[in-house]
Amino acid sequence: MDDLTPFERRLAAGLKAYAGPRRAVDEATVAREAAKRPPTRLGVLARLNREPRSGRLPWRLIGVAALLVVSMGGGAVFFGSGQTPWPVGRGDLITYTSGGDIHVGDPSTGETTAIVTGSEIDSGPIFSPDGTRIAFLRGDPWTAEASILVVRPDGSDERTVMPADFSQRGSSFTWTPDGASLLVNHDSEPFTTPYFDGELSLFDASGVAEPRLLTPPLPIGPGGPYFSYTHQVAPMFRPPNGDLILSHASEATVPDAAGGRGINVWDVHLESHTLLEPEALKRFQPYSVSPWGLWWSPDGSMIAFMVGGTPAGDGLYVMDADGSGVQRLDNIGGGPLAWSPDSTRLAIERCESTPAGDGAVIVIVDVISGAEQVLGSPSVLTKTEGVAMTRPPETAGQAVCGWYSGPTGRAWDYEGWSWSPDGRSIVMLERQGTRPLVIDVQTGEATELPWEADSVPSWRFVRPSSPE
């Protein structure tokens, strides 16, 4: 505590005064009572979907019907004249969060509709692979209050898939490739570990069947969870069938004299769960490194990953799916990453330092040639309102994304982005509460969408073949 700032010292003193003096403890009595006390049992999946939610207004259906009508009109304009207000291909829908509600918007027309409203805080909507449903989180995802729900794009048929109290913290999820289930990365019950357990369960997307825990049959070494707290689930499925998912190898699960760590590949064929350890994937020598951030390419042929701690610094790498052909692309560490739909390019965030201040830019990297293209959004390097915060000494003089805070306490770096289904554009959200930018990756031209969002948009990649 010697390295505290004056404010931190005052805060520590205030907290000590608040908590009062330390008390004497009758440890023998406490220990005896602990041994006698019966165990508690926490929540199980409740049958929450038998009755429709009350308080939902039918205007949503009317609104979405209007949106669809307008979308059809916009689509006619788009496909008929070749001119659209916003330069996004396909004219399909995206879903996003704004003000704690779930919205569906059409980038080709600018029309948007709130499909899930109310006092609850909803976030993280993701279209199902077949485009017929949207899954989203309700409640603070860092707490056990978070639940996962599924709704149709018109706001109807809302169902609870994962109830609150199922996971202590940090639930993240993705659709299975067949759209029948959600794979959820969650904490396990009882919530007694000091860290996130990182187990995986399959949840019936209709909210009827009980969840099925996938990870306990898998072997796990001491000292680490199956999947990390921040482990992104969505890109871990190997497209197109989702037969293999990726995880980081901890020190304990891949003992190695050189201290090497690596990538685990788990076969989650949903019936036989085994850990595959291809030799080439076990570690990345000669570095004693810990990879983080693993992303299958959309065609399932490559894996992109970040590595820290190498002699050359942090870096972005790609390799073939069998672990061969490892190639370093950039000295970028951390930050979001997104594959282009055709698996030829990666969009990544890079910290930049300019006279106007530090900030982030989005870089498109060709995974074959290594060629880079910095997107020329006019907003990229104008984030000068941030207030310097505690900055790690090792980064002095360097651009540090995420270590600055604006007046609202938000970091400077991007909230994220996603490729348009045709790979011609990236829709980017600079920060919560702002209008997403549509950036043409060829020309760098940026256009603002006419709505404010709090989350990265999720695209509907496939138009449903059957009525929604």
């Binding site: 907290l15 602990a34 041994a35 006390r37 056990a144 007694t192 001491p222 306490g409």
Partner: protein
Amino acid sequence: MAVLTSGVSEEQSGVIAQAAAGDTAAFSWIVSHYHEDMRRVCLVVAGDEQIAEEAVAAAWSIAWRKLASLRDPVRLRPWLVSVAVNEARQLLRARRRRAVVEIAVTQAGRHPSGGEPELEIDSIDLRNALARLAPHDRALLAMRYLAGFDATELASATGRSPSGTRARLGRLLHRLEKELGDG
């Protein structure tokens, strides 16, 4: 106070092993060393003495049954505190379903530590600022500045990376500094 850190001794590891095997004397030793850290952190999280006491009692019960699952003795303190904090949050949530829990604000003792007033944070302001934070953020602050967790222990207790913990703590500090009139 003896604290298990990365330099955990063989003797301390032995105590943990004995307690995990059902030795109440060894378990009592652990209670004597960590009970107050757990209670005081829970008090900041819940803002309620009774909830804090109940949470710690429940946490000791869990610890008694689950101590054998502790994979690394170095993690004992963050493990115990995080279990207690989790219980406090569960109790707090259950209590809120029945009635509103207010974090008590006392008019007395605006500078209860007896130090120089200008060097202290006003206790009422601090309580109000804490009340506006989420329980897991209150837990993070209490673990850092009350229990004195280092970055490794914080990361272990919160399940985040050390850098992620630093970032969250930095944002919390920035917010508090502004709210408490120091920013």
